[in-house]
């Protein structure tokens, strides 16, 4: 089922941040959300997750997400916040298992299925070897993967991830994108915000480029990510190349005009 966002308006403390934004997210696709700082990427994601007040329509299949109970919504949509919070000294496995909360009956112990899903999430994010370690004592990049595994363990048809690759080493950045691709391959719809343009171009089926709370461009990376567009949206000059894996985009300087 498709996630449809229609005519979304969001204001934060009276200041309009998103203006009549519409987009859709289909099962099986990884959609990259791009744009400069302050363009509204995080606000869009938080609005979709129901964490900020928004006017407009957010529907999954036929259901209006705003009309569902928080628990029912948590079984449709998982949200990975940009701010990484690891409370107490929870073991990695226990932390990832928190993702099962929307599926568990109150007071019931985890089922074998819960445990299997947690195990798969640990393996997918390459943190299974850390399972018994306290998450608070891991490196920043490791914590990012543990928290991503928590969102994966929520087993929702939609996953909204806010900069899951930031702070990761190059190998784990690609591993993260590969993991998201694999989840999409299982039929999930993934929306992921990114700052690394090459990563977005090579791993996303589609990119949505935001600027000042509006969609400035949308489409397949090869179709919309060119030097002129990057100059317009980010205010940077860029070297654009191509190999068999897709585009390579390297920002080389500022265009001079402030974005």
């Amino acid at each position: 089922m498709r996630l449809d966002i229609g005519n979304l308006d969001v204001s934060l403390s009276g200041r309009p941040v998103l203006h009549g934004l519409s987009m859709a997210l289909s099962p099986g696709e990884v959609v990259g959300l791009l744009g400069p700082n302050g363009a509204g990427k995080s606000t869009l994601m938080r609005a979709i997750a129901g964490l900020v007040e928004a006017r407009g329509d957010i529907r999954f299949g036929g259901d209006d997400l705003a009309a569902l109970s928080p628990a029912a919504r948590a079984r449709i949509l998982a949200y990975l916040p940009q701010t990484r919070i690891v409370g107490w000294r929870l073991a990695v496995r226990d932390l990832v298992a928190l993702g099962r909360i929307p599926w568990r009956r109150f007071g019931a112990p985890p089922t074998a299925e819960d445990e299997a899903i947690v195990e798969r999430a640990l393996i997918l994010m390459d943190v299974a070897h850390l399972a018994e370690r306290p998450a608070s004592e891991l490196s920043g990049g490791e914590q990012a993967r543990v928290l991503a595994a928590r969102a994966v363990a929520q087993s929702t048809p939609c996953l909204i991830a806010d900069e899951p690759a930031s702070g990761l080493d190059p190998a784990h950045q690609m591993m993260m994108m590969q993991a998201l691709r694999r989840l999409a391959g299982e039929g999930r719809a993934i929306l992921v915000s990114l700052h690394d343009l090459t990563l977005a171009a090579r791993w996303c089926d589609r990119v949505v480029m935001l600027r000042d709370g509006r969609i400035a461009a949308e489409g397949r990376p090869e179709a919309v990510m060119d030097a002129a567009r990057l100059a317009e949206i980010y205010g940077v000059t860029a070297h654009v190349a191509r190999d068999e894996g897709g585009l390579i985009l390297a920002p080389t300087g500022l265009t001079g005009a402030a974005p």
Binding site: L51, Y79, D94, L95
Partner: protein
Amino acid sequence: MRPLALNALLGLLALALFLASLAVGPAELGPSESVRGLLAGGSEAAAVIMREIRLPRAILGLAIGFTLGISGAVLQGFLRNPLAEPGIIGVSAMAAFGAVAAFYTGLAGSTLYALPAGALIGALLAVLLLLALAARSGSTLTLILAGVALSSLSGALTSLVLNLSPNPFASYEIIFWLLGSLKDRSIEHVWLALPLMAGGWLLIALSARAIDALSLGEEAAASLGIHMARTRLLIVVGVALGVGAATAVAGTIGFVGLVVPHLIRPLTNRLPSRLLLPAGLGGAALLLAADVAARVVLPAGELNVGVLTALIGAPFFLWLVVRSRREVF
């Protein structure tokens, strides 16, 4: 340690200290005499001492300790703050002020129930103010700030009452009550406070899942389907019922709620929900132990148990502050 083993161990410890509390007192009763007095009843001295003096005291020690322990555990989990304790949301300070007001107006002398009623009204007022102050924002930080403000305000009002009190004996009585004690409480106090405390425990237990999810922060918890406003209501009302009732019958007993979760947490897997029951049992054990110690250390004068817990608690708090800077929770 496995959760079941931990709970069984702490339960046995609390039970042993409950029995010790029944056995200790100025009247020298032998074990068989005590048991007979407790079970058989009658009007002989042993029965009166056991049923009307020691039993209420032991029950209140158990229940109030449990309340303070579980309240501290739920607040630390909810606020994601290792320094949180039942006093932080201002309920105990407001309850104390309510009781002091009952003293001051002279109502406390007229009936047994005036003092606890004053404290409960204070606690209720605290809840209404807290929810009104913190209602507009879902943030737990607002709740802490509102609680701190409320604590300072009720502290100031209590001082004002002491200032205005008509004679030094009234002031002395107020201060002595504020120190917290389980001495000379009757079975009526038990019937008054126990149902309210049990209600508080139930509400706190219902928030177990929410405080686990809050380990990941408020946004992630909300995205896991946790209803933040409902959780806050459950916890604030639950803690206020328990701690309000505890303060109403025993005055303010500090530091049990702060210390116990920290003593118990390393023995659990550190999920906030898994700490609730052990922290309650540990709190019961600690308060019973302190109350027994208060009777044994100074048999003639008898130390106030609130003084004793603060004497142990304050140095522990300092150690905690030093340790928390290394983020080992």
